[in-house]
């Protein structure tokens, strides 16, 4: 009970910091003190944070590495942008966005669920590579989809624009590799922050719920968890689906913040999955607030220090390797224990109570 209170306190303080930052940034934006570069990054930062929180649920609590979360983000983005585009003139702005948010999330969750059924039979390296494969398949398939709309309804093709057979007045909604253009730009910073806080609350409640404890038990020792009668597959599916759904929300935000939505390696492929993974690892595996901090810092820092942008990816990779060695290499752990460099010892130095560690 005491432990739970502590983690709730931590959550509340994180939300407090986010709200304060939100107010400061909004005031700065309102008074014109924010550079256009920075204000353009506000929504993407929240979107990346959301995906990182989603991936952290998978890596930190399910204990499985997914390299396909950019794929779920992609599904959420395209499903919601498609909906918004189709009902652009028939449904008013606000209910349409709420609906498209729901649709994006549900589609990402559905894909997460469908992919999880086969994937969760595997584990470790195989699971990582299969999620990577799924992410690439999603990206490739979206790049060959053409959907047009005219008075007769929707037309679908996987070949090219002409084979849609549309009426002359029809509009092209999804244009293959050119993606979806003209999505209404409805993702505001306020909305993004609300969704991010919501995701933090949901994940926090989830990992501390009965289901969440079961998921952690499975992560720590699957065979023991199975022996005490936990339905492994069910809990794994739940965790993976929620994780995918949160990534989908990130995708919805991302899609409604840009004019033309296309699926490339950099925004929805392997590279994005790795970037999100860096956020998760740097923020601390299993630490949701950490993921948000890492996403914010790593997105804003290179933009603020323009000179570093060439080296950004290089620095990311070095950070990734160094952190892994620092946290996991037995010889380094021994050295840290000897010289009082463990997380607990450092935290104690700052006159704080020992933070709860998730290993």
């Amino acid at each position: 009970m005491k432990n739970m209170n502590k983690s709730t306190q931590k959550l509340l303080s994180t939300i407090g910091v986010i709200v304060v930052l939100y107010i400061v940034l909004s005031v700065m934006e309102g008074t014109g003190n924010l550079s256009s570069l920075l204000s353009g990054l506000l929504v993407p930062v929240c979107a990346y944070s959301l995906v990182a929180v989603g991936l952290n649920l998978c890596v930190g609590y399910l204990g499985e590495l997914s390299l396909g979360h950019a794929g779920f983000m992609c599904v959420g983005a395209f499903a919601s942008a498609f909906f918004s585009k189709v009902f652009m003139n028939t449904i008013p702005d606000v209910p349409r966005f709420i609906l498209s948010l729901l649709i994006g999330t549900c589609f990402a969750a559905l894909f997460g669920f469908l992919i999880a059924i086969p994937v969760l039979r595997l584990s470790g390296d195989y699971l990582a590579i299969v999620t990577l494969a799924f992410g690439e398949i999603i990206k490739n398939v979206i790049n060959v989809i053409y959907i047009g709309m005219d008075s007769k309804g929707l037309h679908f093709s996987m070949k090219d624009m002409l084979s849609l057979g549309m009426e002359p007045g029809g509009t092209l909604v999804v244009n293959g590799a050119q993606g979806i253009t003209g999505t209404p730009r409805q993702s505001t910073f306020t909305l993004a922050v609300i969704l991010l806080i919501l995701a933090l609350v949901i994940t926090h409640n989830f990992v501390n719920s009965r289901t969440g404890r079961a998921v952690k038990a499975i992560r720590d020792n699957q065979i023991a968890a199975e022996t005490v009668g936990l339905p492994i597959t069910k809990y794994k599916l739940i965790a993976f689906t929620i994780s995918a759904a949160i990534a989908g929300v990130g995708g919805v935000l991302y899609a409604h913040n840009i004019n033309s939505l296309i699926a490339t390696t950099n925004n929805f492929g392997y590279n994005m999955s790795i970037m999100i993974l860096v956020y998760v690892v740097l923020g601390g595996i299993g630490n949701f607030s950490g993921s948000v901090v890492a996403a914010v810092v790593l997105t804003l820092l290179p933009e603020l220090l323009r000179g570093l942008s060439t080296y950004r990816m290089l620095i990311y990779s070095i950070v990734l390797i160094a952190l892994m060695l620092f946290n996991w290499a037995p010889s380094i752990l021994e050295y840290r224990n000897k010289h009082g460099l463990t997380a607990a010892a450092i935290a104690a130095k700052f006159k704080k109570k020992n933070t709860k560690e998730v290993s």
């Binding site: 470790g124 990577l132 490739n140 060959v144 996987m158 290089l314 070095i318």
Partner: protein, 293 residues
């Protein structure tokens, strides 16, 4: 004749996959880790060969030899710095480190060589054969690739079966602790495995870029992942399996490109991976692994 041409192209691409897959399969069999950075070692190897041939004007064979030496050293260095400290750590930590190394190599190459593709000159000067009255053309690249793949495969199988270091490798892959007790230097054996795999990656890089001449820092990552698919397809840990998986995958990819859709070819290859892992996770020639409590 179209089909035959595709088949030969598929065999040629499959041979490259097979050589790359060898690196994966040996490392996976012996160190029990997925070396994500293997594909990027190929890219580095291709760049070294390219620089040797075009900038320094060295003939193809010495350029490849230099590239093999560089890649071997690189592979051993990566193993020493990044992987060996984590030998007793969890799988997740090793995997994330490997991804980090892969990313590191890509970005180092990006800084050194730039993001613009360079056009690789083929290491094979021979134009190839023209059969059936010019209807069936087999390029020199394809012939050299297939033959070198077969030679490498035979040599490696002989090496693993009949030499002391090869036997040590098999022992380590069977049971690391028991091998240590038998006086086998496990660290040296794993290092040797990385050296061989990375050396082969250099050969694969030169052959791959001879057939597909556009070389960028990202050239290696896709073939790397596909070759891993091939290794899993054939049964991870098995050398003939790597050959079989590589060839099959190459043929599937080229035929999918020709007859289904060039944009969906990658998706089809990955679908093969998923199906294989779900239906027969041990691959075609893999051994059944029992799960121990």
């Amino acid at each position: 004749m179209g089909f035959l041409t595709y088949l030969i192209n598929g065999l040629s691409l499959g041979s490259v996959y097979a050589i790359i897959a060898l690196g994966y399969t040996m490392v996976y069999g012996i160190a029990k880790m997925l070396n994500f950075a293997h594909g990027d070692v190929i890219m580095i190897g291709a760049y070294v060969t390219f620089i040797g041939m075009s900038s320094s004007g060295i003939p193809a064979v010495p350029a490849i030899v230099i590239s093999i030496i560089v890649c071997t050293a690189l592979g051993m260095l990566i193993e020493k710095v990044a992987y060996s400290p984590l030998r007793k750590a969890t799988n997740l930590a090793v995997l994330i480190t490997a991804i980090g190394v892969s990313y590191f190599l890509q970005n180092i190459a990006l800084l050194l060589f730039g993001s613009n593709p360079v056009s690789f000159t083929s290491v094979v000067k021979w134009q190839g054969l023209s059969l059936a009255g010019g209807q069936l053309k087999i390029t020199g690249n394809a012939i050299v690739t297939i033959i070198s793949c077969l030679i490498i495969m035979v040599c490696l199988m002989w090496f693993v079966k009949h030499t002391k270091p090869g036997q040590a490798m098999r022992a380590v892959s069977e049971d690391r602790d028991a091998a240590t007790l038998m006086g086998i230097n496990v660290n040296a054996t794993i290092s040797l495995t990385f050296a061989i795999g990375s050396g082969l990656a250099a050969v694969a890089g030169a052959l791959l870029c001879s057939s597909y001449p556009s070389l960028t820092p990202y050239t290696g990552s896709m073939p790397g992942i596909k070759a891993f698919t091939a290794a899993v397809f054939g049964g991870i840990g098995s050398i003939p399996g790597a050959l079989l998986g590589g060839l099959l995958l190459g043929i599937i990819e080229i035929l999918a490109k020709a007859y289904i859709s060039s944009q969906l070819a990658d998706a089809i290859v990955f679908a093969v991976l998923i199906i294989v892992l779900l239906v027969k996770p041990t691959g075609i020639l893999g051994k059944q692994i029992k799960e121990k409590v």
